[in-house]
């Protein structure tokens, strides 16, 4: 109730992480658009919820509001919302992006084809890749998590995906989910880089524990744009996030993990990404204990991302040390489908044999499409 009475304006004058100490705070406050904030500037957090659910909050109005919202405002209001509120408002947010195809149109659910292999064996990856393509998977991106952080290996995987996409003329893009500095090196070496990947967090300290700063991301975005590989759009970045990463890196400044997560979306949106997804259950029970917590976090993350204008997808997933199973994932998949989630993952039989966790399968995507239409 105290939170509900707090004026939204308070978040502009009281930085939760000091401005002087944190470049993410500086990014948030320096890029805040007061004019865009005007329609809700007089509201408390509680009334902001009412406004979002009301008929004035049309898709167009929400689109204009984005640059006037800070992640702290969005995280605060999400805490007062029930699951159905998170779904209803997220559904009204329109975020479309493009590279070789357009992603995020209403009534569309895209998938990232994730053909990981524990030793990056090329034939093994190709086998999973074909399996996914046959189920119509991979329109968001074909994205491989390499087994090792190695530039030459990343370049080989980029070459494989580029060959397949060009040979079969597939309207999609590829990405090797390696560290941003590796991708920069790959670009320098002339590798066919469509999207630059990086895991990001909501504080400068989190990001430096990941080994990069905002200027690294800027450099990478510029490098990828210079390749001019997009045909229908220029969104060249792909980010992953997840509640708990700042806490895990002891870089949270005493802030709760959900607010830290929303701040990561402020980082993301600054670099006009094609795709962003929360890897919601990957972090494990240390941070999200069971299926119920994972489901709630998935809905919060999707809502916060969409409201801030990020093309938000979700890796609907769990690990074997969490109290969760396939039924929990079915629930979250269905709820996020209703909420208009931008994209989900696609893995053969839900089993990622490299990262050792379970996410949505090619079959699951077909279930979602059929049950939601």
């Amino acid at each position: 109730m105290r939170l509900a009475e707090l004026p939204l304006r308070a978040f502009l004058s009281e930085a939760l992480v000091p401005y002087e100490q944190d470049e993410v705070t500086r990014l948030i406050l320096d890029t805040h658009d007061l004019a865009a904030f005007a329609p809700v500037s007089h509201l408390t957090v509680g009334d902001f919820r009412n406004w979002l659910l009301g008929d004035d909050a049309t898709p167009a109005a929400l689109g204009k509001l984005r640059s006037g919202l800070t992640p702290e405002m969005v995280a605060a209001v999400s805490k007062l919302m029930r699951n159905q509120d998170l779904i209803l408002v997220a559904k009204k947010c329109r975020v479309t992006t493009a590279f070789r195809n357009t992603i995020g149109l209403p009534g569309h659910l895209s998938t990232r084809l994730q053909p990981n292999h524990p030793t990056d064996n090329i034939s093994g990856i190709a086998a999973s890749l074909l399996d996914g393509l046959l189920y119509g998977n991979g329109d968001a991106v074909i994205g491989i998590n390499p087994a090792t952080d190695n530039v030459s290996q990343a370049i080989k995987l980029m070459g494989l995906m580029d060959d397949v996409i060009r040979k079969y003329d597939i309207p999609t893009q590829s990405c090797v989910l390696t560290h941003v500095t590796n991708t920069l090196e790959a670009i320098e070496q002339g590798a066919p880089v469509d999207l630059v990947f990086q895991s990001i967090g909501g504080t400068e300290a989190t990001n430096s524990s990941f080994g990069f700063s905002l200027s690294t991301l800027q450099e990478a975005q510029d490098a990828a744009l210079s390749l001019k590989r997009g045909t229908v759009g220029n969104n060249v970045m792909y980010f992953e996030t997840g509640q708990g990463s700042s806490l895990s890196a002891n870089a949270h400044h005493g802030i709760d993990q959900q607010t830290c997560e929303a701040r990561a979306y402020a980082v993301a949106r600054h670099f006009d990404p094609l795709l962003v997804n929360t890897v919601v259950g990957f972090i494990g029970p240390e941070y999200l204990y069971d299926g119920k917590e994972i489901i709630r976090a998935g809905l919060e993350d999707h809502f916060c991302g969409k409201l801030l204008g990020v093309p938000m997808g979700c890796d609907i997933c769990y690990t074997n040390h969490a109290e969760a199973d396939q039924n929990d994932m079915d629930n979250l998949l269905t709820l996020l489908g209703v909420a208009g989630c931008t994209f989900i993952m696609g893995i053969p039989g839900s089993d990622d044999i490299m990262l050792n966790y379970q996410t949505t399968s090619f079959h699951d995507a077909l279930y979602a499409r059929r049950s939601l239409t």
Binding site: A127, L129, D149, G211, P348, G349
Partner: protein
């Protein structure tokens, strides 16, 4: 019976590609959904992976296996330590406790003399992590391989006593390395078990270990097991990282693994059936 089954489930002819991967490809479908036998197989695998998390490390057996191995172990017998997490449930919910040694273990470790011979010393720390079976099945052959390769290396590496930790997380290695005054700490830890790989071993390296080092300061070699990255390759890669860490005086993201990927080169010229 089988005739009826055929008509209910659409089999996937590309299942033959399973020769290239353990991934669950070519599952077939009932309508658009998983066929019943695949659904049940998945649920059984999940139950087994859950067991791998909760099954405790058999330390006695590990010591016996180490004793029987051909590894050129350091003179002192392995030291057994515990984290501050007292049981599995605490361990799962409180990663911070898994990163620090219990008071008793700290005292036990303080009893060991610090390496002060001037040579860079290596501390090998075996930690149960999230899969005791990873340690039980793969720690001894990995240590054996590594010590053999280390002996052949003219690097003047001095070995600290072997350490075994129960209910530990990766970062506990940094605390241990710091206590020992080691130049580099190598942590062998049970990775979170997957459905198809319940016994995957992870290896983490920190140069100049001390409590509170961030993840960006560690290098990782993952999925070490006979069906994944072989002990030989893991050992070579680890030695490479150690040499580089020593040369540069740092580990982590600024230390790139530039070993040409051996596994990938097995498929000549990286050809595959999709593009050739």
């Amino acid at each position: 019976m089988s005739k009826q089954k055929k008509s209910l489930v659409t089999e996937n002819v590309w299942r033959v590609l399973r020769q290239f991967t353990d991934a669950r490809i070519g599952l077939g479908r009932a309508g658009i959904s998983l066929p019943t036998h695949e659904l049940l197989k998945f649920q059984l695998a999940h139950a087994q992976a859950r067991d791998a998390v909760h099954f405790p490390l058999d330390v006695k057996r590990l010591l016996k296996d180490l004793g029987e191995s051909s590894a050129a172990l350091p003179g002192q017998s392995p030291l057994l330590l515990k984290s501050q997490a007292e049981d599995r449930l605490t361990y799962l919910q409180r990663p911070d406790l898994g990163r620090s040694l219990s008071q008793e273990s700290l005292e036990c470790l303080a009893g060991l003399c610090r390496g002060d011979s001037g040579e860079p010393s290596v501390a090998i720390v075996i930690v149960d992590g999230l899969s005791s079976s990873a340690i039980q099945n793969n720690a001894v052959p990995m240590v054996t391989q590594f010590l053999r390769d280390l002996e052949e290396e003219a690097g003047d590496w001095l070995l600290a006593p072997l350490i075994i930790v129960e209910q530990g997380r990766v970062a506990i290695g940094d605390e241990i390395g710091e206590c020992l005054g080691a130049s580099v700490v190598v942590v062998l830890i049970g990775e979170r078990p997957g459905l198809s790989s319940p016994d995957s071993l992870g290896i983490y390296l920190s140069w100049g270990p001390k409590s509170g080092l961030s993840d960006a300061r560690r290098n990782c070699i993952s999925n070490v097991r006979p069906a994944g990255l072989s002990f030989e390759h893991a050992s070579q890669r680890l030695l490479y990282l150690m040499r580089e860490a020593r040369r540069l005086g740092i580990s982590g993201v600024s230390l790139k693994d530039r070993t040409q990927e051996v596994v990938i080169e097995k498929t000549a010229n990286n050809k595959n059936f999709l593009t050739d």
